[in-house]
């Protein structure tokens, strides 16, 4: 691992605590706006904690440092989750948290590269991140860089044909510096992702496309970090995919029970309750 890895700022902080901190920041941003893709943020928090505090190299005070691992948020609407982890990682100042989604904020509702330090691409038009990641991985190889590209996408993006164009291209070009992270919460705008298109059997699809693919419980930090380690350590000239089965609203039980919706509605008087339920379960 690179000496510039920022884990030094948090070696005494457990990943579980990082994930809790990410969830808490996301909930506070949701409270500020009275809305947000909070279900996704709570669900993916463990994957983000493992990405930023176990796996990736980066410099908090130099988000464009050439040697960094690249993290692409293909799912622009997960911005609330990425802002939370960027604050936790010291890339965004936490004292701007309450500007989330406000006019002139550096944290718009959908993630954009031109607004936010640490936001590598403008996501949101779903199905674009993996293709950009393919190009960046090719570019890094041209530069003989040992940095990795991580592309976080949703299960809904698996519906997009461009995802599979990128999958074939990534395999064709032997991109062993590319890791695709699929947040499989089985929820997209019109309903269950598995009821929208024939996604399964998913790991077998990626494997058939020439990728190394693992599938783990995305809310089990030990399983998540082990998958990240295996993806990075693999000595095969092909790209890697990790499918994370996650639970929408993870960590806030009364919202978990509400996970039937892509856009989880939280009433004005419920944010305090959500924070309280999260805090009750705060790890050390």
């Amino acid at each position: 691992m690179n000496a510039d890895h920022p884990r030094g700022i948090g070696d005494n902080v457990s990943l579980a605590r990082r994930a809790y901190n990410i969830r808490r920041k996301a909930l506070r941003m949701g409270e500020v706006q009275g809305q947000g893709y909070i279900g996704q943020a709570l669900g993916v928090a463990d994957v983000l904690a493992a990405s930023y505090f176990h796996t990736m190299s980066y410099r908090s005070d130099d988000p464009e440092w050439e040697g960094r691992d690249r993290f692409l948020l293909s799912i622009g609407h997960y911005a609330i989750a990425l802002y939370a982890v960027l604050m936790e990682a010291g890339i965004l100042p936490e004292d701007e948290l309450e500007t989330y989604g406000m006019d002139d904020s550096r944290m718009p509702m959908s993630g954009m590269a031109s607004y936010t330090p640490g936001m590598e691409i403008t996501g949101g038009s779903l199905g674009q991140g993996l293709g950009i990641a393919v190009g960046m991985a090719m570019g890094l190889k041209r530069k003989a860089s040992d940095a990795f590209v991580y592309n976080l996408m949703s299960d809904g993006e698996l519906d997009e044909g461009s995802t599979w164009e990128a999958a074939m291209a990534g395999a064709h070009h032997g991109l062993d510096n590319l890791v695709c992270l699929v947040d499989f919460n089985n929820q997209q705008a019109d309903g269950r992702s598995t009821e929208m298109s024939a996604l399964e059997p998913l790991p077998e699809k990626w494997q058939a496309f020439g990728w190394h693919c693992q599938r783990v419980d995305g809310n089990d930090l030990d399983a998540v970090t082990a998958a990240f380690d295996a993806a990075r350590a693999l000595k095969e000239p092909r790209p890697r995919c990790i499918v994370f089965d996650t639970k929408m609203c993870k960590g806030v039980p009364f919202l978990e029970a509400r996970d039937k919706n892509h856009f989880v509605r939280v009433e004005a008087d419920e944010w305090e309750k959500a924070l309280a339920e999260l805090d009750e379960r705060a790890p050390a």
């Binding site: 590598e120 038009s125 074939m168």
Partner: protein, 347 residues
């Protein structure tokens, strides 16, 4: 001309021949746009790109199964380690071009104009243009340069890309323009979309104006004329120049202002030329009359209070027919004869 229709497909046909007995065969997609009376240059884009890449190590080539038909194969053969084949997949081809640009490279990305403008538009808009990345999109078969029908005829690409912020758009006329355009694009910041004449490409502009040199963003007078000013882009400048020679014999003096850069438009030069005393102003483009050069010029002139007699030559707002290019160019009024006829009729 008879518009194609579902009913017409049940009408029996026979072989049509030109007056000289030649059969009217469809021009292949790989056809060059050679023209009578001009010498031609083979693959000016591919060769100019190789020359550029020798001095600029950031340049890479990327395509979606169309290197041969965009002249990028010349680059691929000369510099195979700087060439990326993405398969027949325009969306990932242009997304990956964005990714390469993010990592500091300057990708020249090629496909057909229809596929870039229609299939990959969202990827160009969000991954490239919104991020203002230096991707050079270079597309063959612009406008009506194939007889294969609407699947391959990019008649509305300029309109599509004109609406896209940050995008610089070039519609080169000939080999002189293409060879001048390649280094000019490399020196430019931000994304670009260029149409591409490929194969054996005529040298037109320097024949009419020996000191002509392509300049990005500049309209240039190629020929002076007292009666008519044609403001043209792409190969329609060749048509305008040839029509001007034809009309000269009929004592009609036609000037030609060549506008290879569609966006940003050189409105200062266009307005100054159009304001020069009492000439009929005609725009000419190898593109639908909706949203292309003609409308852009009209808006530029009107907002400056310049109101000459104004006509537009371009393709109709229709899906065009399949067939032989000379037939189609006559049918849609963009052959030399038709351009000359129409100008004369408007005087």
């Amino acid at each position: 001309m008879t518009a194609n229709s579902m009913a017409r497909k049940y009408e029996p046909r026979q072989v049509l021949r030109r007056a000289d007995g030649q059969k009217l065969t469809t021009s292949a997609m790989i056809a060059s746009l050679e023209a009578e009376g001009y010498e031609s240059v083979r693959a000016p884009f591919g060769n100019a790109l190789v020359d550029l890449a020798k001095t600029n190590d950031k340049v890479v080539g990327i395509t979606a199964d169309l290197s041969k038909y965009t002249d990028l194969h010349v680059f691929a053969e000369a510099m195979p380690d700087r060439f990326y084949q993405m398969g027949m997949a325009e969306q990932v081809m242009l997304s990956a071009a964005a990714g390469l640009a993010r990592e500091g490279f300057m990708p020249f990305a090629t496909t057909y104009a229809v596929f870039a403008s229609r299939r990959a538009y969202d990827f160009i808009a969000m991954a490239i243009a919104e991020e203002n990345l230096p991707v050079r999109i270079v597309c063959a078969l612009p406008g009506l340069t194939t007889g294969y029908g609407p699947s391959h005829q990019a008649t509305e690409d300029l309109a599509i890309f004109r609406g896209l912020p940050n995008m610089t758009i070039v519609d080169p006329c000939d080999a002189d323009d293409v060879m001048g355009m390649v280094p000019a694009l490399a020196a430019h910041d931000g994304p670009t979309y260029s149409r591409l004449p490929r194969g054996n490409v005529p040298k037109v502009l320097t024949k009419h104006k020996p000191d002509y040199r392509f300049e990005l963003g500049k309209a240039q007078t190629i020929r002076e004329g007292r009666d008519v000013l044609v403001i043209s882009t792409g190969f329609m400048t060749m048509r305008a120049l040839d029509a001007a020679v034809k009309l000269e014999a009929e004592n009609v003096d036609v000037g030609v202002l060549h506008v290879p850069t569609i966006k940003p438009l050189d409105v200062e030069t266009i307005a100054a030329e159009a304001a020069k005393g009492g000439r009929l102003v005609v725009t000419a483009e190898n593109h639908t009359v909706v949203g292309g050069l003609g409308e852009a010029v009209a808006a530029a002139l009107l907002t400056r209070g310049i109101a000459p007699t104004f006509r537009m030559i371009g393709l109709p707002d229709e899906f065009l027919e399949a067939g032989a290019l000379p037939t189609l160019h006559d049918m849609y009024g963009i052959s030399v004869d038709k351009v000359a006829e129409r100008i004369k009729a408007w005087l």
